[in-house]
């Protein structure tokens, strides 16, 4: 267990905010965890339908998005090292790349979703309800909910990083006080980890 090295002299306690962030990440994990439980149960109940439905999804877009997220995760992580090395400019560049990659991810997602919509696949659509089996309806229901919620997290994470960039520019986040930057990175990695599971579950296991 942790020792009782508690700092009362200052209100800045990076360790505390880091624990706080981790705890928040746990809640996010369990939020998606609930969806993963649902996914696995329905997959177990309708293996064939899930198999068929997954073929509708485009592995290439999925793979590209995976790589994008992995790279962006690395750039955020590097930003933490950069600020510790007192290289503010590099920090900003790395964070900037992350944001750009996030936007590219979202654009891809947009095209992917609108392609589905054009095929008449969206929650409650006629095509889905009349022509597809129950398992397929479930698959696409979960697909939209899970990737949608994930996209929402991308947006939040992106906003968080932009916010940190502003703080870095204003020198409120600096080499002696970078917990906020580290936390935005942690959040971004969480988004990445969730995608690491979403990708095989929806695009690969056909």
């Amino acid at each position: 267990m942790e020792q009782t090295m508690i700092h009362h002299d200052s209100h800045y306690d990076p360790e505390a905010s880091k624990i706080g962030m981790w705890l928040f990440i746990f809640t996010e994990l369990l939020l998606f965890g609930g969806l993963f439980i649902i996914y696995s149960v329905y997959r177990f109940m309708n293996p064939d339908a899930f198999h068929l439905a997954a073929k509708e999804l485009d592995t290439t877009i999925g793979a590209i998005n995976t790589i994008i997220l992995l790279v962006s995760s690395m750039t955020v992580a590097m930003a933490t090292s950069a600020i510790q090395n007192k290289n503010i400019k590099l920090t900003q560049i790395l964070l900037g790349i992350t944001v750009v990659l996030a936007i590219v991810f979202l654009v891809n997602k947009y095209f992917e979703w609108s392609a589905k919509f054009d095929h008449g696949i969206f929650p409650g659509s006629e095509h889905l309800i009349n022509d597809m089996s129950k398992g397929e309806i479930l698959f696409f229901g979960l697909y939209f909910v899970m990737t949608g919620l994930h996209a929402l997290h991308i947006i939040i994470g992106m906003a968080f990083i932009i916010f940190v960039m502003v703080f870095v520019a204003k020198k409120k986040v600096h080499p002696e006080r970078y917990a906020l930057l580290e936390n935005s990175g942690l959040y971004w990695h969480l988004v990445d980890v969730i995608w690491i599971f979403l990708f095989p579950l929806f695009y690969l296991i056909t």
């Binding site: 267990m1 800045y12 990076p14 993963f36 149960v41 690395m74 090292s81 690491i196 690969l204």
Partner: protein, 94 residues
């Protein structure tokens, strides 16, 4: 008040980790083309877990944090796993 200096991770480490992650991604795409039947799901999940492990340890700095952080993360994942397993006691035996 970080008088105990943080460990600064060299950029090189991150690049290696990224490469490993990308390789793992391609492996997991590749194995879906081989007919593994029931093991496809297992294979994909194992690869995803390895990737997650890498992200947690290096990108998320668990390797360099105090041990109780690792314990917490492990504990949470274990609880979640147990919940899934118990849920499946219903569906698997139904």
């Amino acid at each position: 008040m970080s008088n105990e200096k943080h460990h600064i991770v060299p950029y090189r480490t991150y690049i290696f980790v990224l490469l490993a992650l990308i390789v793992l991604t391609f492996i997991s795409i590749a194995i879906t083309h081989i007919e593994l039947a029931d093991y496809t799901v297992a294979g994909a999940l194992i690869l995803a877990s390895v990737k997650t492990f890498l992200v947690l340890t290096f990108f998320m700095h668990l390797k360099f944090d105090k041990p109780y952080m690792r314990i917490m993360v492990g504990f949470v994942l274990a609880v979640f796993l147990a919940v899934i397993i118990i849920t499946f006691l219903d569906y698997y035996y139904r």
